[in-house]
């Protein structure tokens, strides 16, 4: 099993953290991907990538106005940039002594802790550990594009679950979302419309 490191921790809080990574690392995580931060023995934090952010610096500002930039300069600026690519991650739960909890982690990760992309097995383990309790962390974040984030997450997890024979995961997850949001027409319709746009990827194979 390949372990993919996506970066190291820049700053963290209980509800989420920000990861800095190199350009070479940006290929692996994607919006809606599940990541983990292993800390000490048997304790690791799970999170969901909800924003990938590329900040500028002084040099980039000068370069963007320059005519005919050399490809080598562009490549050099990307690889050896001063400011890292930032990924914002929402805490969804943690694992302690082998048991997964859909609660906020008791203590955050520390600076420069390595963050890894969850493997298919880890994704399956985390998403099937309970009855979608981690959805509440996503739904609570009013300033996030909740619909888009859930659609991306469900899409990715469904592919992994279906590969393991659980074809109805997306259906059950959606049902849970509808139950959680049925008193909030605006958010629910937003989420449902986004999920509808994910067709056919999400719903293919759903029985």
């Amino acid at each position: 099993m390949t372990i993919i490191e996506v970066g190291r921790l820049l700053r963290a809080g209980t509800t989420g953290f920000v990861v800095g990574c190199r350009v070479s690392q940006i290929e692996s995580p994607s919006f809606g991907a599940l990541v983990r931060v292993p800390l000490n023995a048997g304790y690791q934090i799970y999170g969901l990538v909800h924003d990938i952010h590329i900040d500028d610096d002084g040099l980039v500002r000068q370069l963007v106005t320059t005519e005919g930039i050399d490809q080598a300069i562009i490549a050099d600026n990307r690889v050896n940039r001063n400011v890292p690519i930032e990924m914002s991650v929402l805490s969804l739960g943690f694992q302690q002594d082998g048991k997964i909890h859909y609660l906020l982690p008791p203590r955050p990760a520390l600076s420069l802790d390595a963050i890894y992309l969850c493997s298919d097995q880890e994704v399956r383990d985390f998403t099937a550990a309970g009855r979608f309790g981690y959805f509440r962390h996503i739904l609570r974040s009013a300033d996030l594009p909740v619909g888009e984030l859930l659609a991306a997450h469900i899409n990715q997890v469904q592919a992994v679950q279906a590969a393991a024979g659980n074809h109805n995961w997306a259906l059950e997850a959606t049902q849970e979302l509808i139950i959680l949001l049925r008193d909030d027409y605006v958010t629910l319709m937003n989420v449902i419309s986004t999920l509808a746009d994910a067709v056919p990827e999400t719903w293919e194979g759903v029985r």
Binding site: I178, Y185, W203
Partner: protein, 565 residues
Amino acid sequence: MAEYIGYVVGGGLKENLNVRLTVPSNQVQEGAFAVIESGEWQFYGLVTDLLLGATDPRFADEQSEARLPMQLANLLHGQTLYTNLEVLPALMLERGPELGSDDYQIWQEEIEAGKRPRPRPLPVKTIPSHHARVRMANQGDIAEIFGKEEKEGNFVLGYTREQSHPVCLDLDKFVQRSSGVFGATGSGKSFLTRLVLAGMIHYNRASVLVFDMHNEYGFDDTASDTGEKVIGLRTKFPSRVRVVGLGAGAQIRGQTPDFNLEIAMQDIQPEDIELLSRELDLKETTPTTLDALITDYGRDEWFREFRKLKIGETVLTDEGKKVPAPGSVAFWANSMGVNILAAEGLHNKLRRVFNLPYVVEKPAADSISEIIKALEAGQHIVLSFGKHEADLDYLLVSNLLTRRIRQTWEKRTNDYRTSGKGEPRPLVIVLEEAHKLLNREMAAQTTFSIIAREMRKYYVTLLIVDQRPSQIYDEVMSQLGTRISGWLGDEDDIRAVLSGLAGRSALRGMLARLQPKEEVLLLGWGVPMPLPIASRRYDDQFWQELLGKPPGKRGEAEILEELGF
């Protein structure tokens, strides 16, 4: 394993219980008998309404199935759109701790040992808890509430509408108080009455006297709508039912009745005339005139004597003055100090009664006593009015006969109370077109309203058959124990049938939506809870089930099979 149809989400005793439906709404109908399981109690109720609901009205407004993939739309609708049932709770029954547990064993032993009352259905006094599960009643539940089919005195009147479980009427309870069969014309009232009568005659715990205004119940008849032959009660119970025809030589449906009823003039009493006030358009002076007649001739002779008097006959006095002749109404009026015009007016109006062919001076037999004797002996009488179908005949004869019956039963009951011997046999008087005798104006005067109100103690009750219950005096309606009603359209009639019952508003719509000729609503004191049922068909199969297969000729095939060929 019971199949649950939903769970309780709210409501109360006053405004009914709300149940969230978890099965497609077409699986449950208005009037369904629902059972709610809540802890140690089981509640029985009636579905009175089905309501469409949404967690937010916008989910219902928007046709999201048009713009969402089918699976997503189904999921969304499954959670945001729903159907609620309104259930009218009626009864509750203790079912004890969980079956098979130690507590259940102890509970059961306590009941067996008599330390605890045996659970029986009680009127609902509390409500089930939230999320208590709801299912449709099964055959066992129906039998628990309405009684078992096998028990003597339980008569299957129909079947539950969805699952066709038999619903019984407790005939012992049915005859204890007056009852009514209602329904608009063409709603199957006559067939329903035949069913009930057949059940009562077969059970034979009470005598039945039917005032058969339209000659429907005694001999075989032809159905007015289908043209098919309808078996009469006399045909099926030849030794128990006697058909009495009104008037000498009466023929009922082309057949000769067992005996004929003629009324002796001495039997007609002033009260009988007073209750004909509306029919004969009698004036308010009538009681005074009648009173003078009684004073002069006595209760037995007044009718005969008054009938003999002539109107307008005069003689000349010695002075050549015209004065009323002896034997004229005016002469009699003068002698008694009664207003001449009032007496002559009454005489004129009573002419219709004087001319009734069945009112005779000396009947060939004392048929009224014969009827009473037959009833006392446990026989059942169908009094067919034959060709005398006018309201006048019906009012006069039914009231007169009932007055005599009432006297007899009152006397017998009083004797029984004194001596403790010879308990009177319960009697049910079946009254068709009851509003003619029990309307607001007449109710105070007729014997029937007294029977409806008080005669229960004297072993006489009424079975009222009517299409306009709203015309029947409220005080009589409110006394009716069991009410069996077919379809009713008129708002006033519906209100009248439901008068004095709990949950009226919930049952109102149900009455208006019954299937004519097929469905009836059981209501009132005589039934444990209101329930619409599909009524039994009055056909050959009914008779076979009631009386067993007739020992008629066996087919060739049947005999050969029995012989082993």
